[in-house]
Every structure is written in structure tokens, then in C-alpha cells.
Amino acid sequence: MKITVDQDKCCGAGSCVLAAPDVFDQRDEDGVVVLLDPEPAEHLRAAVREAADVCPTAAIALTERD
């Protein structure tokens, strides 16, 4: 799995951080998403999929490869 985030789209709701705090964070200065781990380990992927699904601005894109 490979994650990309679109910081221009992000509205800073933080739902990704609540769903997958090991993978997403928010910038201190404005709350915009920060990707901590673009290729998360297996055990984190369900939470990452949930984070992408619930993002209010669809700013998280996933490529499932393996």
C-alpha cells in the first residue's frame, strides 16, 4: 500500500489522525495533514483505509499494490 495526501484539499478535520495516529499527523501551524508513513505496515492498513474513506475532502489517495 502506498499513500499520497493532497495538502491543498485538506480541511484539517483530523479524522485521519483519530483513525490512524501512527500514519497521519497535522501541521502545528495550520492543522493540515502530514503523512508520517507513506508505506504503512500490514497491521496499520485497515485503519489507513478507514482514514481515507472518512476524509471529508477526499484528500487521501491509496494505491494497493502488494
Binding site: C11, G12, A13, G14, D30
Partner: protein, 404 residues
């Protein structure tokens, strides 16, 4: 079906059979009339959307404006001021200005910051539960816990002292009135709130603290701007309007739903790790989320198979959309493990709720504390006897009688 085909104009909000169940019309509207003519409390007509995909599309589409003071836009309420939808905060900002404002305030509302507030929120909840237990069963959980908690949290954020929490609760109630208060009462409450906050903002400029107002002033100062009193006032008012009554009512409705079928409460007692998904499911299942999200259309637009003409005021029926079978399997079932739960309770798109991490944190904290402290919690009336709050933009339960 085109808008206007229906010879029937529904009165809106649509009455529901019980406090926790949706109006029977929702399912029929989703199936047969996804863009329905409705008459608002003001007497003006609007178009009600009830399908998940349509609501999602409209909330993310910039042609559907928040410009509800257009001359031909439907007025929501009979009050002259139009209540919450016509205040300073409802005045639309350009997308660029909105994003700047949003990011400045958003910095305060990050998920980690809200998570850091959680121990404090749990401590306030514990204190309110202690007081409720001390006053004896049965008790009204809305009055004892649901209503005070969010206003305490907001007062803390704004740097307002504990002794003024009562005033804030009243102002908040008044600002959200659809029909319950007179225009004179609403105007008086607005004026008192503005006067209080102006003084509080001036004092905060003199002696900044560790609160949101201080943070906004210093963040703007750091970027070479001056944060005006007007922006601080409307931000504070927005917080109160957006963060108090909504969360207060959601606490009541969430606990009400979980106790209405006590197997849900027992499922949570058996597995506390379900609190997070249970909160999301309560948000989705909320059959009385309130008025809905209004938008004003500045040009003709397609919504599903319907052409909606410019000048139409559209009301996004969030509760109806959240129970759309085409978006959620077994949409009428409350599934405490549902995941992902892509409900629209906080809206969607660039204007989706700024405080959603705070709301989630408060709801999760309340549920955790109640499960821990009052595992024997149950309704003290039949679920069918619970009554809705009328006259406010945000829907809720009038009282939530419980024992433990």
C-alpha cells in the same frame, strides 16, 4: 422527476413518530422524490435532498452557496434576523479567505490537541456524574451532563471563567432559536454576548493566556496582521453555536439510543474498544440532527436526475442521507462495529465541521466515563416516551430520564 412536479408541499421539518426514530417520509422521499418541495418555518419554499450521493455532491459543489442572504433565498425562520444562518459567521467568505481563516482556527482544533484535552474533559464529566449521582436517581442526563459539559469545554477554550458558564449556556440556547424565543429575547442575548465578549477580548489583549482567543491574536500578530475584534467575536459566537447545542444534544441522543435497546449498552460494557465506532454509529443513526444544511443555488444545476433552477434554496437532509440504503448496508440497523462509517453528520468538503475532532473527543469521553462509572445505567422511562426538543436549529431530546 423535476422539481415542481410534486403537487404536494411538505411542511419542514417533517414530524417524526418518536424522538429516536426517523419520519416515515424519509425512505419514500429517497426512493421517489429525492428533490422534494418543502415549506420552511418562515413560510418560504425550499428543496429538500434526502439521498446520500446528492447531499455529498451538493455540500462539495461551490455553485451551492452559503449565500443565504440573497434577496430571493428562502428564509429559514420567522424571526427577522433569521437566527444562526444569517449571523456574521454565516456571511460567506471567498474560498481563499475561508481557507486562511480555517487554517488559523484549525491549528487549534487538531486531533492531537483535542486528544490532549481528553483527560480534562473526562475530569469535567466525572465531576458532573458525581453531582448527578449525589442528587439521586432518577435524573435527567441532559440537564445534569449533556447540556453543561460542552459549554464548560468551550468556556475553557475561550478563557472564560467558571462563574460565567451559566450565562454562556443561555446565550447559546437563544442564538439557536428557530421559534422558541422572541426576536426581542434573541436580540438582547446577542447584545449581551457581544458586550461580554468585547470586554473579554480587550482583557485578553492586555493579558494573554493559554486560550484560543490569545492564540488567534498572537498567530495573526506573528504573521503581521491584526486579528480584529469582529473576527474574534464571530469566531467565539461560531464556537458556541457550533459546539455547544450540537454536542449537548448529541450526548443525550447517543446515550438515549444506546439505552433504548439495552443490548447495545451491554455490548459496549463487554468490549470498551467499541466506543470509537459506537460514537460514529450514533452520529450516523441520529434521526433528529436538526434543520439540515441549507445552500443557495446561483445557477441551474443537476442533482441526481433532477435539474434544480438557480435561485433555489436547497436543504441537505443529513439524517435522511445517513440512512440511505444505497450508501450503508442495513442502514436502519445500529451496528456499533460499523467501519468505515462515512456518515455526513459533520458535513463534507471544505466547510465540513471544524470542531469534529473535539465533538468526537467529547462524545467518546462521555461514553467511556459513563460505562466505567454507571454500568447499570438505564432509561427511567420507555424509549417511546422520550420527547424531542422543538424550536431549535439543532435537534435533541427534551429530557433523558435515567437511573443506575
Amino acid at each position: 422527476m423535476a422539481l415542481g412536479d410534486a403537487d404536494h408541499v411538505l411542511d419542514y421539518p417533517i414530524p417524526a413518530p418518536t424522538a429516536l426514530d426517523p419520519p416515515a417520509e424519509w425512505a419514500a422521499l429517497r426512493q421517489q422524490c429525492p428533490v422534494a418541495r418543502v415549506r420552511l418555518p418562515s413560510g418560504d419554499e425550499a428543496a429538500l435532498l434526502t439521498r446520500y450521493e446528492d447531499v455529498r455532491q451538493v455540500l462539495a459543489d461551490p455553485r451551492f452557496h452559503r449565500h443565504l442572504d440573497a434577496p430571493d433565498a428562502a428564509r429559514v425562520t420567522a424571526n427577522e434576523s433569521g437566527g444562526v444562518f444569517s449571523g456574521a459567521l454565516a456571511r460567506p467568505m471567498s474560498p481563499e479567505i475561508h481557507q486562511q481563516w480555517r487554517r488559523m482556527v484549525g491549528k487549534w482544533f487538531t486531533a492531537r490537541r483535542m486528544t490532549a484535552l481528553r483527560p480534562g474533559i473526562e475530569a469535567m464529566t466525572e465531576r458532573l456524574v458525581d453531582e448527578m449521582v449525589a442528587s439521586g436517581a432518577p435524573a435527567d442526563l441532559r440537564e445534569k451532563l449533556g447540556f453543561p459539559l460542552p459549554v464548560w469545554v468551550i468556556c475553557d477554550m475561550l478563557g472564560v471563567p467558571e462563574s460565567d458558564r451559566e450565562k454562556f449556556a443561555y446565550w447559546s440556547d437563544t442564538l439557536l432559536s428557530l421559534t422558541r424565543y422572541t426576536q426581542a429575547e434573541i436580540d438582547a442575548a446577542q447584545a449581551e454576548f457581544r458586550a461580554y465578549m468585547s470586554e473579554h477580548i480587550a482583557a485578553t489583549r492586555e493579558a494573554p493566556g493559554d486560550d484560543l482567543i490569545s492564540e488567534l491574536i498572537s498567530a495573526a500578530g506573528g504573521a503581521g496582521h491584526v486579528m480584529t475584534d469582529e473576527t474574534l467575536l464571530s469566531t467565539s459566537q461560531g464556537l458556541l453555536v457550533a459546539g455547544h447545542e450540537t454536542t449537548a444534544n448529541m450526548i443525550g441522543k447517543m446515550v438515549g439510543m444506546l439505552l433504548a435497546d439495552r443490548r447495545r449498552w451491554e455490548e459496549l460494557l463487554a468490549d470498551r474498544s467499541l466506543v470509537r465506532t459506537a460514537v460514529e454509529e450514533a452520529l450516523r443513526m441520529d434521526a433528529n440532527p436538526g434543520f439540515g444544511i441549507p445552500r443557495y443555488l446561483t445557477e441551474d444545476a443537476r442533482v441526481g436526475d433532477t435539474t434544480v433552477p438557480r435561485g433555489t434554496t436547497v436543504v441537505c437532509g443529513i439524517g435522511a442521507a445517513n440512512r440511505d440504503e444505497s450508501a450503508f448496508a442495513d442502514a436502519d440497523e445500529m451496528d456499533l462495529r460499523r467501519s468505515p462509517n462515512t456518515h455526513l453528520a459533520f458535513g463534507v468538503g471544505a466547510h465540513s465541521c471544524l470542531g469534529q475532532s473535539l465533538a468526537r473527543t467529547e462524545l467518546q469521553a462521555v461514553l467511556d466515563v459513563l460505562l466505567r462509572r454507571l454500568p447499570g445505567l438505564e432509561l427511567a422511562v420507555w424509549a417511546e416516551e422520550l420527547e424531542r426538543v422543538d424550536g431549535l436549529v439543532v435537534g435533541g431530546l427534551r429530557t433523558l430520564p435515567v437511573r443506575w
